[in-house]
Symmetry: C2
Amino acid sequence: MSEKDFSVTLSPIAKIRNAFPTKFGLPRQSGLAESLVSEIVFEPEYRIPEALRDIEQYSHLWLIWGFSEVFGEKWSPTVRPPRLGGNKRVGVFATRSPYRPNPIGLSCVKLLGIKKTPDGTVLLVSGADIMDQSPIYDIKPYLPYVDSHPEALGGFAHEKKDYRLELDFPIELLDIVPKDLQGALKEVLEGDPRPAYHTDDARIYGLEYASFEVKFKVSENILHVVSVNERKK
Amino acid sequence: MSEKDFSVTLSPIAKIRNAFPTKFGLPRQSGLAESLVSEIVFEPEYRIPEALRDIEQYSHLWLIWGFSEVFGEKWSPTVRPPRLGGNKRVGVFATRSPYRPNPIGLSCVKLLGIKKTPDGTVLLVSGADIMDQSPIYDIKPYLPYVDSHPEALGGFAHEKKDYRLELDFPIELLDIVPKDLQGALKEVLEGDPRPAYHTDDARIYGLEYASFEVKFKVSENILHVVSVNERKK
């Protein structure tokens, strides 16, 4: 079919920095944990303030990024989305699964601000569903007149949108976490970080968040935090 | 900064087929010419009907694709968007310009249907702002609960959204074009395919559309089609 080779190699222009060193607990889609602030730190060769000129005119940005934790793994024509209980198989192109032919993610984030740092000009964004240190390949403005389609039909993925757990987070445990990281942690826990097919009340889960390990269990739609400890490096 | 190499090579999973063999006249953003139907034809190794299972549950899809006409060209930290008259320079990450570090495009299209063809299962979509034969690297469902932000601030790009030319398309010329291709052609012409900084009333422009060359001129907000001819191959 092809006469030309239309392969393309993407080099990271930036990395994301946030409180999620592992995938477990990461919001499953962008915007689901709005308090989670991430920093976009440009790679040295892309620390060109000019390239960001007028970006503050936009409230939202698109990030095109790499599912780097699955680089080198095989893709699968069908996947089992956690939101469907992990049982039903759907086509990979009908999902946002990382196990796709080209392991590239797409996330809409809110632009909170821009700051100058020793690492160059950094973008502060909220709502990213992207693991700490993941590579960013492109940043584009969100254009509501072409990108916003509230009337779009969302298949199965929107069905559990409003599902939230009640949170039992003892204050003495919460206070171990710095104030500015508490909001996003609570949102993430309320969103139920467990795989949807786990329903074992006795099971203790461990969530890595910033420099902490947060242990919790869930019963009858209440998430009980049982410990918060500094992680060993 | 990086210990790991997070570069990634994308292989085309599909190509797009439509009536736009060149960039001139191509809608400047997705959704702007809703009548323009494109086909997404999978590359032989991705002709796996399973990979599309349940995709019809979505009304809209994201396409991640390559600006293949600029592959190998240099990117520029600032660009002059045509919508701003081609004079003002803004940062490349505040635009959807193809001259970016990683020349990857993002477009939202409407899923019209799926059909089985000798070239495998083909997706029919409308609203793509993508040149004929461009490589597609990924297809994702549009999830309105995470992707739709009608409240987003659109910077300068939405200012000219409703701008339309009046169209003077003599019926004997229009009828040279097959009926099913007329609607999209009219939309494209009404959208003013000229670079925004061209205002020469006498100038004749040539638009390649399907197998035709459409010549036109513009004066006082009226676009006059002056000829429609079969292109030489």
